[in-house]
């Protein structure tokens, strides 16, 4: 479990996170949603240590990550896998080398062991046999799956996905969503997904955190988001007439 306790973060005069507290549960797909510029990505970066928090702390299974510095964070970081918005694959390395990279840097595995692990991870994301391709030779959806394979290569306890569906067509988005859900449940990972994609939220969101004006505005499950009366959530989730109609039909179904 990841606990965020009273986290505050400002950039100069601009307060981005305002006393945010929440919990991300193990074995569940936890989602952070909210409008652009409300602090979702900053919160995620604070949790993984890419930004330092001004006040408050982040606990990984009770271990205070914010208190640690530099190299001492490495043990917890080894347990974190992250899927970046643009995949962040190393373009000079082949698919296989990308997946083997964290293994070669952080473990004492032999080349053969790393090869077996890379093959397993590629198979898990349905990309067997694509070992020798370069990232530039892969489609956007494939790059996301390679990034997931790299993220799970170290058998992480925590998986962060920053807008995993951005730039993907609806069908590929569903493939990525299902993959994230399967991996989370299969390996009992604490997964945190930052997204705008309401389809993903309804599809795989076990626990949803709505960030608004830098605050934890709302928490709940995917059924709760359909029935909630919270005006900020409703204006975000059901911004279009199409979504409003869907809400009405879903509420009728639930009744």
């Amino acid at each position: 479990m990841i606990e965020v306790v009273n986290v505050n973060k400002s950039f100069g005069e601009n307060k981005v996170l305002d006393d945010i507290s929440t919990k991300f549960e193990t074995g569940k797909v936890n989602m952070i949603i909210g409008q652009s510029g409300q602090g979702k990505s900053v919160l995620a970066k604070c949790i993984v240590g890419l930004h330092e928090v001004d006040h408050g702390c982040v606990l990984y299974d009770g271990r205070n990550f914010s208190e640690l510095e530099g190299y001492d964070r490495r043990e917890i970081r080894k347990e974190i896998g992250m899927l970046f918005q643009g995949s962040a694959l190393f373009d000079s390395m082949t698919v296989e080398k990308n997946i083997m990279f964290p293994l070669s840097m952080l473990t004492n595995m032999t080349k053969k062991e790393m090869q077996i692990r890379a093959d397993f991870c590629l198979e898990r994301v349905n990309l067997s046999g694509k070992n020798k391709l370069l990232p530039s030779e892969c489609s956007g959806g494939m790059q996301k799956r390679i990034a997931i394979a790299r993220a799970i290569s170290m058998k992480p306890k925590y998986l962060f996905c920053d807008e995993p569906n951005s730039g993907l067509d609806p069908k590929t988005s569903i493939v990525i969503d299902n993959l994230i859900r399967e991996i989370t449940h299969e390996y009992g990972i604490t997964t945190v997904v930052i997204t705008h994609d309401m389809n993903s939220v309804i599809e795989i969101g076990d626990n949803i955190v709505f960030i608004h004006e830098g605050k934890n505005w709302w928490n709940g499950g995917r059924k709760d988001i359909i029935t909630t009366d919270n005006p900020e959530i409703n204006s975000f989730v059901y911004a279009s007439q199409f979504m409003k109609d869907i809400k009405v039909s879903m509420q009728e179904k639930l009744k």
Partner: protein, 246 residues
Amino acid sequence: MNVITNIGKYFIMLGIIFSRPEKWRIFRNRLMNEIELIGVKSLPISFIISIFMGGVIALQTAANMDNPLLPAYTVGYITRSSTILEFSPTILSLILAGKIGSNIASEIGTMRVTEQIDALETMGINSLTYLVLPKIVASILFFPIILIFSIGLSLTGGWLSLVMSGLTSTETYVLGLRSFYLDGDIVYALIKEIVFAFVIVTTSSFYGYYTKGGALDVGRSSTQAVVTSSIVILICNFFLTQMILL
């Protein structure tokens, strides 16, 4: 104020680079790659520049030596001294600042804006040590080699231009090259080249690493890296000359 902040950030960056190296095996592989990219691939441009630079120095010196009281071998002597003391280490470094500096800044800058550096950090890897330290070591090891080749080729270029234009004979030129030779001159040139190598790689890495934004900003960082490296090289050149030669 911005300059002072950047100087502070630069020294903090140096501290992080040398703080905790990654695995030796990984470092060795990266070092070999960087020697090829930074060193070996810079040889052709360095060779071409050196030959023509030596040729022009010799011709200009000969053209200005119209006083009959000056011995004929003076042309060789001046060509050698200017090449070893100034032209090969400094001009070569300024050219390499353009070639290697822009390459390093754009490579690291692109990694920054495409979140590859964030990916390294999230994995628990010291991205600065992983990316920059092999470049520093490769340049410090290989720039002196390029310098030695450059000096040799410059002097050869000087000889070719003088002999082919009939301004002096091979014997006179070689006599000039061997006159009043001091070992300290080569040591001075090597020290300068090592300092310049360090300046080029660390300054360019600094601008690349702290790039913010997108493709346009990567280009801007690349330009800033070349401009700043060149200025710092000239400043270091002044102080090193003051400290070592005087």
